[in-house]
């Protein structure tokens, strides 16, 4: 099989369960699942609550502000599935704890990698992948 000229980055499978998250991102909204039975946040999206197993889950919009809980600076491509990220190296992937929501894993962009710090306040930016998916990323607040 011939190697593609420019390796593509993997994109999510949009499923009935996670679709509101990706639809929200396309409309520049950060949408999160919340259990109406026990009030906990549920992320990544699930058909049933991971705490109380209720199926009564709502989608609510969150503010999109948060803090870096921890992060990694990726300095090397490992394997072939993610070789599309080679031009971005070094880049930061972080766990962001939302001020009014759960933790999510995303990229911190818009500043040199050396400037990213734990507890740094960040805010969502929506990045169009060009392939029908918008990725919620974060930049320094």
């Amino acid at each position: 099989m011939a190697e593609e000229k420019v390796a593509k980055k993997p994109l999510p499978d949009v499923t009935p369960v996670n679709q509101p998250f990706w639809d929200g991102a396309k409309a520049s909204k950060l949408m999160m699942q919340k259990c109406t039975n026990c009030s906990t946040w549920v992320f990544p999206p699930r058909p049933v609550c991971g705490d109380c197993a209720s199926e009564k889950l709502d989608w609510v919009q969150v503010s999109g502000t948060g803090k870096v809980f921890c992060f990694t600076i990726i300095r090397e491509v490992v394997g072939t599935a993610l070789r599309g990220f080679a031009p971005d190296i070094p880049y930061v992937t972080a766990w962001v704890d939302l001020d009014d929501g759960p933790r999510l894993c995303s990229n911190v962009i818009g500043c040199p990698v050396e400037q990213v710090k734990i507890d740094m306040p960040v805010v969502t930016v929506f990045e169009d992948s060009g392939d029908g998916i918008t990725l919620p990323k974060f930049k320094p607040a």
Binding site: P10, P12, P44, T72, L82, D88, L135
Partner: protein
């Protein structure tokens, strides 16, 4: 009814590990061949024959390229035995330690009095098999460039460094100790001793994870055999009894949507194992802890209560070598012996058995009666390990 001291390990088998089969012309060995080889070694070590296992227990651990629902039956077919009790290991890297308890329970309940626990994998030889990402990894990690477990554990390590103040020196000391032990273990793969400086110079892959923090995939097979305490006394090798055991899946410290990743389910698994065994921490002379990454070893030492959380001074002053205060990773660990997928974790059971039998050669811990082995599996989204298990083994029942 407790399983404490009711069953013992009486046979171990470990094939050499290699990384062959990935390049043209290299010899290839299939998972089936490693399974047969590991079983042969364990059965021979126990002084039994394959025939002895008909109607007995067989525990097969699911492995990366062979996760079909009937895997335990397929393993029986590969080995040519007809088990009467069929167990499966579905806890990833924790499976080998999990199955110690499950096998002991089957033996104690009288379902059988022999269990062969076995795993093998050949990721280099059988690379052709596609293994696509799924679920959270595919939809919520890969689109953001998360490069597999290196990346996932670097999140944990980054927070661990932030909260504990641990540095290169602390991680390097654990890496150097492991490699030193590997240099004394003829079955290890990476055997050239390293210094803390070598650790610091090893390249950053997913900062703060360095090359020398990481486990290395390999081909290989491993097996152990358990029997009842009564029968164990009549066998070829000195019995190594299961004295304490615990497992814990889907642990969360703090809310599940924002868990503390610096505490793992080993905290609960370990507590149960200690409680069942009645063995004191000071009498455990050997810790063989699941080591996919160096910081994971350190967090488990804290989880098990051998020191306080974030205890930098403890990591600085403790001699972790086989003749030291608290020997850890006496085989060199998976980091130096290689990780054949979910088989890797069995190294830590086999090494504790070797130490307690007094078969550990140049790295033999002196005067050892008790040791602990752990396993972990599945690095979950925004958390740490989904599967954990701990077992305390000893020379007396």
């Amino acid at each position: 009814m407790s399983i404490r001291g009711k069953a013992a390990i009486v046979g171990i088998g470990e094939t050499p590990t290699d990384r062959l089969g990935g390049k043209p012309g290299e010899p290839r060995k299939s998972t089936a061949e490693y399974l047969a080889w590991a079983a042969r070694l364990a059965i021979e070590d126990a002084g039994l024959t394959k025939k002895d296992f008909d109607g007995q227990g067989l525990a097969a651990i699911y492995t990366t390229n062979h996760s079909q629902p009937f895997w335990p039956e397929e393993v029986a077919a590969i080995l040519g035995i007809t088990p009467g009790v069929s167990l499966a290991g579905g806890n990833g890297g924790a499976s080998s330690v999990s199955l110690l308890g499950h096998a002991a329970a089957a033996i104690t309940a009288g379902l059988c009095d022999l269990v062969l626990v076995i795993a093998a994998a050949a990721p280099f030889s059988e690379r052709g098999g596609h293994r696509g990402a799924h679920g959270d990894t595919r939809d919520f990690e890969m689109p953001f460039g998360v490069m597999g477990p290196n990346c996932k554990i670097s999140f944990v390590m980054s927070r661990y460094m932030h909260e504990s103040g641990m540095t290169d020196e602390h991680f390097g000391k654990v890496a150097v100790t492991g490699r030193y032990h590997a240099s004394l273990n003829p079955n290890a793969y990476l055997r050239k001793p390293i210094t803390i400086d070598d650790y610091k110079k090893s390249r950053m892959i997913s900062d703060p994870i360095r090359l020398f923090d990481c486990v290395m995939p390999a081909n290989g097979g491993k097996a152990y055999i358990m029997t009842s305490a009564e029968r164990a006394k009549t066998m070829k090798k000195p019995p190594v009894y299961l004295l304490g055991w615990g497992e814990c899946n889907n642990a969360s410290y703090g809310p599940r949507y924002r868990a503390n990743p610096l505490i793992t389910g080993i905290t609960q698994s370990g507590e149960r194992a200690f409680k069942m065994s009645g063995v004191a921490h000071k009498d455990i002379r050997c810790l063989n802890l699941y080591d996919d990454y160096i910081p994971v070893v350190m967090i488990q030492i804290e989880d098990l209560g051998f020191c306080r959380r974030n205890d930098k001074a403890f990591f600085e002053k403790t001699d972790f070598t086989f003749k030291g205060d608290l020997p850890i990773q006496t085989s060199g660990g998976m980091i130096n012996c290689g990780q054949p997928s979910t088989t890797g974790g069995m190294l830590h059971v086999i090494e504790t058995v070797r130490q307690i039998r007094g078969e550990a050669g140049d790295r033999q811990v002196p005067n050892i009666k008790f040791g602990i082995s752990t396993g972990v599996g599945a690095v979950n989204y925004g958390k740490n390990f989904g599967c954990t298990a701990a077992a305390i083994l000893g020379s007396q029942s």
